[in-house]
């Protein structure tokens, strides 16, 4: 089942075009990895996909997917680091896409928040203040929030930036598990290309004209991949 579609999409800021005439589609259960250099437009692609950035040309459409079934982990730089909020308040807010105007949390939602905090090993931090925990812990809080929100798809912008390799590895494992066990599609922007690719089944290599690879094998054989690794 197709979840979303890009048809000849161009994304730009003012006169600067970041992504030009790009088409692709994503199906339920896919695990798509988005790679490319800094400033190549990975975050912009995600913002287009999320409807945060309307395309200058072309069409982005959600097909078998509603906006409220999406979970999102923004890039770290997009978050206010000094915001007064408890870990619990932030993780719970991921559940709000299920609520109507009367936005109180149910018992089930509170349990879901606890479960996801457990999964990421931050349950002890439940009552800590977001601004007083480490960068890596903040990242896990935001991932727990994204997990609460994700019903059909989970969109992650550099989930492992600033995490040590051991925790990163655990992260990738958790994400792969969610992908397989809950049949939630993953779209992930990542810097550490090798571990990220190990779980993926499709790749987008970001450059002026992004290239969409339907399988990781095809990407590994490509010139883009070899050049990218050579350059790292």
């Amino acid at each position: 089942m197709i979840l979303l579609k890009f048809e000849n999409v161009t994304l730009s800021y003012g006169n600067t075009t970041v992504i030009e005439n790009f088409s692709m589609e994503l199906s339920a259960g896919d695990y798509l990895c988005v790679v490319g250099e800094n400033g190549s437009g990975k975050s912009t692609f995600l913002k287009g996909l999320l409807g945060l950035k309307p395309p200058a040309r072309g069409k982005i459409s959600l097909v078998g997917l509603e906006q409220r079934e999406i979970g999102y982990l923004p890039q770290k730089t997009d978050i206010q680091k000094n915001f007064p909020a408890s870990v619990n308040e932030i993780v719970l807010s991921g559940c709000l896409n299920e609520c109507g105007f009367l936005s109180f949390y149910s018992k089930r939602q509170k349990n879901m928040a606890i479960e996801n905090m457990d999964l990421l090993g931050i349950r002890d931090l439940k009552n800590e203040s977001f601004k007083e925990i480490s960068g890596g812990q903040q990242q896990r809080v935001l991932l727990a929030r994204a997990l609460c929100a994700a019903k059909k798809i989970l969109i992650l912008d550099e989930p492992c930036a600033g995490l040590d390799p051991v925790i990163s590895k655990k992260f990738y494992k958790i994400i792969k598990n969610i992908n397989i066990n809950k049949n939630i599609a993953i779209v992930m922007v990542s810097h550490d290309i090798r571990p990220a690719l190990s779980g993926a089944n499709a790749v987008i290599h970001m450059q002026q004209k992004p290239i969409f690879f339907k399988t990781v094998e095809k990407y590994r054989e490509s010139f883009s991949y070899k050049r990218f690794l050579g350059g790292v």
């Binding site: 913002k47 999320l50 409807g51 945060l52 509603e66 906006q67 409220r68 079934e69 999406i70 979970g71 999102y72 923004p74 997009d78 978050i79 206010q80 915001f83 007064p84 909020a85 408890s86 308040e89 932030i90 719970l92 807010s93 991921g94 709000l96 896409n97 609520c99 105007f101 009367l102 936005s103 109180f104 949390y105 800590e128 203040s129 601004k131 007083e132 929030r145 929100a149 969109i155």
Partner: protein
């Protein structure tokens, strides 16, 4: 202390000011948390100037002041919000432009019509003598509505304040909550202008939050703390202004400033130990 409170509460105008002020300062403070943390607090300032003009024109034309100015301020709230959403940097400048020009229009209109009279002066600098029975009734009703709406949408307001992108991405109607917040703010500002005056009323919105974030770790505690500081500062300020016969609005701002300094010092100490 109790004797003193009993003594001054015998004056009906103080009592009315106290009732209206407690409701208004409570509501302004809780709305302010979101506006300040989102860096939208300029909106409060802009709305107070628009509100002042609308109120003064209504007075000159002999229209019902609140009934005219509330719709005008609601319109302005929506407009100002769109401007600051569009472009954070130029949005600020656009708000300054609108607020200064509406103030200018109001003043010129009033002075051409019949000069600055006591009512208009009162809207500028605040006057607790001007509060009448229907103001008390209206401000209690409006404040209660604001409070109920705030509590109903509290969790979403939190999310929209903390991370607008995430809220949008996950299908929350961010624009609805932003619009709701700025409309409610506009209404509270018009209601609060009677006591505080147009020039000072926006301080009811920013000060309590600025103080609270120095000490509080959670969003909920910032909200509760702001409401408490705001009401306490209002009551203290009102009494002090009575004792020394100085303007109430200005006194309340100074008390809020003291609270801010106190919280800053305690926050500083807390961080070191």
């Amino acid at each position: 202390m109790f004797d003193f409170a009993r003594e001054i509460l015998q004056y009906p105008f103080i009592f009315k000011a106290l009732v209206v002020g407690i409701f208004v300062s409570f509501c302004c403070a809780i709305l302010g948390v979101s506006l300040v943390l989102k860096r939208y607090s300029m909106i409060g300032d802009g709305l107070s100037h628009v509100g002042f003009s609308a109120l003064s024109i209504a007075v000159v034309m002999n229209w019902a002041p609140l009934l005219v100015s509330i719709p005008v301020v609601i319109l302005a709230a929506v407009l100002l919000l769109r401007l600051s959403e569009k472009n954070k940097m130029q949005g600020d400048a656009a708000i300054a432009l609108i607020s200064a020009s509406s103030l200018a229009f109001g003043i010129i209109f009033v002075s051409l019509a019949n000069g600055i009279n006591a009512d208009v002066f009162g809207y500028m600098f605040g006057s607790i003598l001007a509060i009448n029975q229907s103001d008390v009734f209206l401000s209690i009703c409006i404040s209660s509505i604001v409070l109920v709406l705030f509590i109903m949408s509290y969790n979403k307001i939190f999310l929209v304040t903390f991370d607008e992108n995430f809220a949008n991405a996950t299908g929350i109607n961010v624009r609805l909550y932003n619009t709701l917040l700025s409309i409610l703010t506009g209404i509270m500002i018009v209601v609060g202008m009677r006591i505080m005056g147009a020039l000072l009323v926006s301080s009811l919105i920013v000060f309590p939050t600025l103080s609270s974030v120095k000490m509080c770790k959670y969003f909920k505690s910032v909200v509760i703390n702001s409401a408490i500081i705001s009401v306490l500062s209002f009551v203290t300020g009102l009494f002090i202004s009575y004792i020394f016969s100085i303007p109430a609005g200005a006194t309340i701002v100074i008390i809020n400033l003291f609270a801010f300094i106190l919280y800053s010092i305690f926050g500083f100490i807390k961080e070191r130990v």
